[in-house]
Amino acid sequence: MADILQINKVSKNYSRYVALNDVSINVPEKSIFGLLGPNGAGKTSLIRIINQITGPDIGEVLYKGEKLGTKHIEQIGYLPEERGLYKKMSVVDQVLYLAQLKGLSKAEARKRMLYWFEKFEMQDWWKKKIEELSKGMQQKVQFIVTIIHNPELIILDEPFSGFDPINTQLIKDEILDLKKNGATVIFSTHNMGSVEELCDSIALINKSQKILDGTVKNIRNTFRSNTFKVSFKGSIIGFTNALWTGAEILIKQTEEDIHTLTIKLLNNYTSNQLLESVLSNHQIISLNEIIPSMNDIFILKVNQGNESKVLQNNETK
């Protein structure tokens, strides 16, 4: 699949503070891309560069192979983390104004606005001022404003904050729909559950550097550690004896007559071999491989980064 966005060796400094350091990321077209990282890692700086709010000091950004420029602004929709609308302006005026700023004609903007208002069941409150709306309603307006000009690339910074579970689901469905209709979504979040649920691929940024990227599937696979969770009935001593040197037991749990072990297989010992050796004397209830969640990977990688920094610092001392 072609890349809609290629970020090549981008660096950005604010006086002495380094926001981005030699970051290269490719965002595949028609996918949902997660831009992850702890607070202050440089995500917002990168997003602002993609939105052309600021420019990179070094490096370049290509949009469909062309250098990113003013004409691409209308192809991009942006939902900033800090939401903001004119408090004293009515919903209708607001949506029309922002849609026209993205290049839509007034008539076209009105048509699409009606479509979205109907879809989100908002017809009753369009004459209202933003300050009269609840937070969830404001978020809906903001979401519509982001996508009303049918952008090819949609950048959502923490899209679910401020939504109740029902509206979160509504927005999730909408994001999947947008993807189905050919849009690319970059989405930056701390909610790792939604990353696993929605994202095709991700990039992880920490301390202004990219430390990990790839498809969610591949990343989770590479972080597999041959760890399994097995539940069975029968003698636990017999079970451990049967494993012999093939596995290391990490956690033991017993509930009534069911034992559950978390084990790490060693020396190319496979799960099939494990089953063969214990099947005759034990009643196996379940065997599952433990695939690390994005949450685990996030914490692992970010902590590794922090430790290596500490080490480096100690060495230089």
């Binding site: 709010i53 900033p80 903001g84 302006m89 005026d93 700023l101």
Partner: protein, 444 residues
């Protein structure tokens, strides 16, 4: 360009919907004309009829203290105690009692009894006459003829005549008070609309809408659109206020100043006659107008003002001064997070405006000083100071020079402001300092 138009449109619309803005637009001219009318009303004589009973125990004033069209006096021989009880029943509005020893002075030598408070003009009328009578009385008792005194008095009137280098008279109206007024108006308007830009920028920043907008337009476009939007709004407001003020003052002046302009006409006719007849003329006709001379002079000055020139200059200097200051205001507005932080930045910016205002006061005293000249050319103060000079007749080259430097520096301040604005609108949470703002100028 289309996007700047959209931004301008929104800026204007959002303010036009603001009720305080609309109320101000209508109310300000009403207040101004109302104030003028009030002042005119005050200066007009009191027209309430007064019927005054006078008990003159000093016997000095009888037949000398007289009334006028509205005030009639009647002398009575009643005792004071009885008169105080009876004067209202007899149809008098006041009772004036003069003690026998008034000539020696002292408090309580005269008393005015009343039910309804008599007007100030009435009180002055009585008091002035009595003082004059006592004065003449005292002169006489010292064997001095009052006529000698009054004939020795000579009013000196300086006639100002400006001449050019060939010694030919140059037409000029010198009406410093008016110049000061236009200067003050300029100060108010630049500050008012500058603050409007400041608030609008700060509102967008604190609302956080700004990030959405600058992902669609360049920060410079947003800033420019905002500044131009408020400028257009200001001009619209000027026109509305101007029309209301003009029509109100026209109505008011036809009502209040009718007598006066008739008198001015008569005065001028007499003046012409005197000029024609030379020393044979009958000066007494002119002397009739002596107490009106100041008002005539004022009217003459107002008539001499070239309102069209003043209006054009006002618009040009307002635009220049507003654009110059509003871009600075936009830059500061982008730098602050909250209204409470803003004061420390606004004060230094308004300081030059204040100084301009102070210098425009000096224009009244010394219109041709070099301080006034330079202040009317330097863009920080030129809109205000030049407006205060304008009625003194400013050479065209000075006007062009001053306007050119004002508009040129507008481009410089806008360019610098855009650099600050671009960074400032995205800075949150940090306490901004002047040093910080200076750094933003050099960000890429």
């Amino acid at each position: 360009m289309k996007k700047i138009r959209l931004i301008i449109g929104r800026e204007i619309k959002s303010k036009l919907r603001n009720k305080t803005f609309l109320i101000m637009t209508v109310l300000a001219p009403l207040l101004i004309t109302g104030f003028l009318a009030f002042i005119i009303q005050l200066s007009q004589s009191d027209n309430t009829n007064q019927l005054v009973m006078v008990i003159d125990d000093s016997k000095l004033f009888k037949d000398k203290l007289k009334g006028n069209d509205y005030i009639s006096l009647s002398y009575s021989n009643l005792k004071l105690e009885d008169a105080v009880e009876q004067f209202t029943d007899k149809g008098y509005s006041c009772l004036l009692w003069i003690s026998p020893n008034i000539i020696q002075g002292g408090a309580g030598a005269t008393k005015l009894y009343f039910r309804k408070t008599p007007g100030f003009a009435f009180q002055t009328f009585i008091k002035d006459q009595m003082e004059k009578i006592i004065y003449e009385n005292k002169l006489k008792s010292n064997n001095i003829d009052p006529n000698i005194i009054s004939n020795s008095k000579q009013v000196v009137k300086l006639i100002l005549e400006k001449v050019n280098d060939k010694g030919k008279p140059e037409e000029q109206s010198s009406f410093e008070t008016f110049g000061f007024l236009t200067g003050a108006l300029m100060f108010t308007f630049i500050l008012m609309y500058g603050m409007m830009v400041f608030r609008s920028v700060m509102e967008e920043k604190t609302n956080r809408i700004v990030e959405v907008i600058i992902s669609s337009v360049k920060p410079f476009q947003l800033m420019l659109g905002k500044i131009l939007g408020v400028a257009i709004l200001g001009l619209i407001q000027f026109v509305i206020m101007g029309i209301i003020t003009f029509s109100l003052t026209t109505v008011l002046s036809t009502i209040f100043l009718k007598d006066i302009s008739g008198q001015l006409k008569a005065f001028k006719q007499q003046q012409e006659l005197v000029k024609l007849q030379g020393s044979n003329a009958n000066f007494s006709q002119l002397e009739k107008f002596d107490d009106k001379l100041e008002v005539f002079e004022l009217l003459e000055k107002i008539n001499k003002i070239n309102f069209f020139e003043v209006f054009i200059c006002f618009i040009l200097y307002f635009l220049g001064g507003y654009l110059f200051y509003s871009s600075i205001m936009a830059a500061i507005g982008s730098a602050v997070d909250s209204e409470s932080d803003s004061q420390q930045f606004i004060t230094p910016v308004t300081l030059p405006l204040m100084i301009g205002y102070l210098i425009s006061m000096k224009t009244i005293l010394d219109p041709d000083s070099s301080l006034v000249f330079w202040a009317s050319v330097i863009p920080f103060t030129s809109p205000i100071v030049m407006m205060s000079r304008i009625t003194n007749g400013v050479p065209l080259w000075e006007l062009i020079f001053s306007l050119a430097s004002l508009f040129a520096s507008f481009f410089v301040t806008t360019w610098l402001a855009a650099k600050i604005y671009r960074t400032g609108i995205l800075m949150y949470g940090k306490k901004t300092t002047w040093k910080e703002i200076a750094k933003w100028l050099f960000y890429k």
